[in-house]
């Protein structure tokens, strides 16, 4: 893959990368940092990508590592719990859709699998590779996340969106 192809693939995945970064990080500046670091890291390690078909999965994995790195650096100042509470607080201040707010209100363990599967359309196998989790764990988190989201949306709409 040359630089042009890399650039095109990154731009094609940009929205997806932002959504995934947003599921981990509580502000846009951090998302921009994580995305920038992931792009640079991926370009540097491009020679290690064996099959270009898996570029998006591979890049998403790198992005999540960068997100976790940022959270670790923030952890020195605040706890994980406070950081994720901030996600909700920030989300509530912006003019986002109720669906987005409801997803962002999920516990962090349920949020990423949910976004990867339902929003970004990754397969179960890809999510397992990205999150380094077993299929049964991903399935369980999706099931619980769906259930929690249904309850949240029922509060908002009075019924669950299918």
């Amino acid at each position: 893959m040359n630089k042009e192809q890399f650039t095109a693939q990154v731009l094609d995945a940009e929205k997806s990368l932002y959504h995934i970064a947003r599921s981990y990080l509580n502000n846009e500046e951090d998302c921009a940092d994580a995305m920038q670091n992931a792009i640079l890291h991926a370009f540097e390690k491009l020679h290690t990508l064996r099959n270009e078909m898996y570029f998006r999965t591979w890049l998403t994995r790198i992005l999540i590592n960068e997100c976790k790195q940022i959270i670790r650096s923030r952890k020195e100042q605040i706890s994980y719990e406070d950081y994720y509470d901030d996600v909700r607080a920030v989300t509530e201040q912006e003019d986002y859709s109720e669906v987005f707010e409801a997803v962002m209100g999920l516990e962090k363990n349920y949020r990423a699998p949910f976004i990867l599967f339902y929003v970004e359309g990754f397969s179960m196998k890809e999510i397992c590779q990205i999150l380094k989790l077993s299929q049964s764990t991903v399935k369980m988190r999706l099931y619980r996340g769906r259930k929690l989201l249904k309850a949240k949306l029922e509060e908002v709409y009075g019924y669950a969106k299918q």
Binding site: K3, E4, Q5, F6, T7, A8, V10, L11, D12, E14, K15, Y18, H19, R22, E28, E29, C31, A32, D33, M35, Q36, I39, L40, F43, E44, E94, D95, Y96, S97, V99, F100, V103, I115, Y118, V119, E120, G121, K161, Q162
Partner: protein
Amino acid sequence: MQNNEWNEAFPEVPEHVHQVVLSTLAGLDDGKVKKVRKMKKGKMIILAAAMVAVLGMTVSASEIFKWNQKAGEVFGADDEQQTALVMGDIAREEYQTISDNGLTIRSIQTIQDNNCFYALFEITAEDESVRITPDCSMDFLTDRQEEDNLFSMLSWGFVDESRQAVSNSRYFEMIGTKMNPGKEDLDLIIQFTSLNAPGEKAMEGEELLKGNWEFALNLHAAEPVCYELNREYQIAGCPVTVNRVELTPISIKLVCDGEDARQLEEMEGISLEQADSLRALFVNGIRYQDGTVMEEMGYQELEAGYSEGNYTKTARLSSVIDVEKVSALLVGDNMDEISIR
């Protein structure tokens, strides 16, 4: 919900995050990786009554750095110049779209440096029977009342019919200058408030559509290339010391000795205190190192005046110039040469 419906319920990539991605990609170098400077977060204003959609780029790599065709025409920039200016953060694609009361305004492109900016919008009425002609106007406010004015608007309006046929959609251009030119990126807040039909006088047209369309455009202050000259040149037959020339692809700053400029003023029989212009220092052309001359036809003075013993003139260029290849400025009616090499 289907996957695409979930995706639609999620926010688009914010413009400043998109700019970070573009800058990062532009800074990639084969074999090397360098961390690029990130943009400041722009003030993204989302009105309750309006829908803001920041569209993501899904174009192929060869089209990534291409400008909007209209903006390319305005500045006469070829593909190579367009790419260079996007990579230099002087030209930016904007993808903010706001719809309100049957009118959609989309910011398309900004081109800017430390002195001035150009912004291109596309304004479309949902009702196809609404004809937006070049004589229509837009009412708009800039900056915020509680803040100092950061910008001064020089010209604005819909593009003429020679550049776009009349329909329910039309490009709207805006050219302005920064009140305090400097190195800081600035957020240009533009709040459109109405589309007006042509009137007999400016500002008198009937209000066609009223609404609230507010944009926050982050303008990067691209740094100029500076030439400390402190050399004497013959300009309009007078010896004039030019202390410094600053060039960007879209503007020029010329700093001359104040006393020498006074001589030119006397010779032309004008008074700069009376807002006259010193023709002898109009930059009417550029000479490139290969001898090619680019005549500057659409020169627009941004600022001129005396300060600290110098006479300083800042001007916007109508066409993009290749700063690295400029060998001389050609000034005045006689195209007197100010060599910068």
